[in-house]
Amino acid sequence: MHDTTDAYEARVRRVLADHARLPVDVSTLQVYDDLFQAGMTSHNSVNVMLALEEEFDIEFPEEMLQKSTFESIEAICTSISTLTMIGDRT
């Protein structure tokens, strides 16, 4: 598991539990599990995106608004890490 995933995983799981409306318990998901396969709809991924922006004080740019950005806990953590680093440099 990546360090970035370690740093953000708990908060990401909490956002998923509150906004992804998954039919499974988020705590049972592995970090590489496909969230869309697990039942996350496109609309719920929008809810997740907006909640992540609020939780981490970031904004997903248009080029990151694709399914792959939100397809797993690991992918989300990596995206947050990227955006946080960009924010720290500006």
Partner: protein, 155 residues
């Protein structure tokens, strides 16, 4: 009236179709959770104006427009990524019929797919809203990704 099918006029591989439906309460929950940020991220000013009623924004009308955008993405069938939601705009023609207008990244995807025209139908009834988008393509691009996008919302 009986209309004979004209298979020569519209070969199946010259068209694409996308469909989507959503529960209206999903829109209401997103509005409650994220408010204006949600609305501005997904809908254009024109769409928001179209959904205004004396009682406020109609979640059912917003839901139909969300379904229209998702149905359009299925028609565009992007290999990776997806167009921004605001580049797919539901407008009302003079006759009152809805049309789907593409701009920016959505228009680029449509051009790459050889899509020459789109037709849109939307509906909402009770707790659900749905939309169907039909696209005509040039033969050169027809059938390249004719099955459209497959995602978790597909039945």
């Amino acid at each position: 009236m009986r209309v004979a099918p004209r298979h020569d006029a519209l070969p199946a591989e010259d068209c694409r179709v996308g469909i989507d439906m959503i529960a209206v309460h999903s829109i209401e929950e997103a509005r409650a959770a994220h408010g204006e940020r949600y609305l501005r991220r997904i809908f254009t000013e024109h769409e928001l104006d179209s959904c205004r009623t004396p009682q406020g924004l109609s979640s059912a009308s917003l839901a139909a427009r969300w379904a229209a955008k998702e149905a359009t993405i299925k028609v565009l069938a992007p290999a990776e990524g997806q167009p921004e939601w605001t580049t797919m705009e539901v407008r009302r023609s003079a006759s009152g019929a809805p049309t789907m207008e593409l701009s920016g990244s959505a228009a680029v995807l449509a051009a790459e797919a050889g899509i020459t025209s789109l037709a849109l139908s939307m509906t909402h009834e009770g707790p659900f809203a749905a939309a169907v988008v039909f696209a005509l393509c040039t033969t050169e691009h027809a059938g390249e990704r004719s099955h459209g996008r497959k995602d978790a919302t597909d039945a």
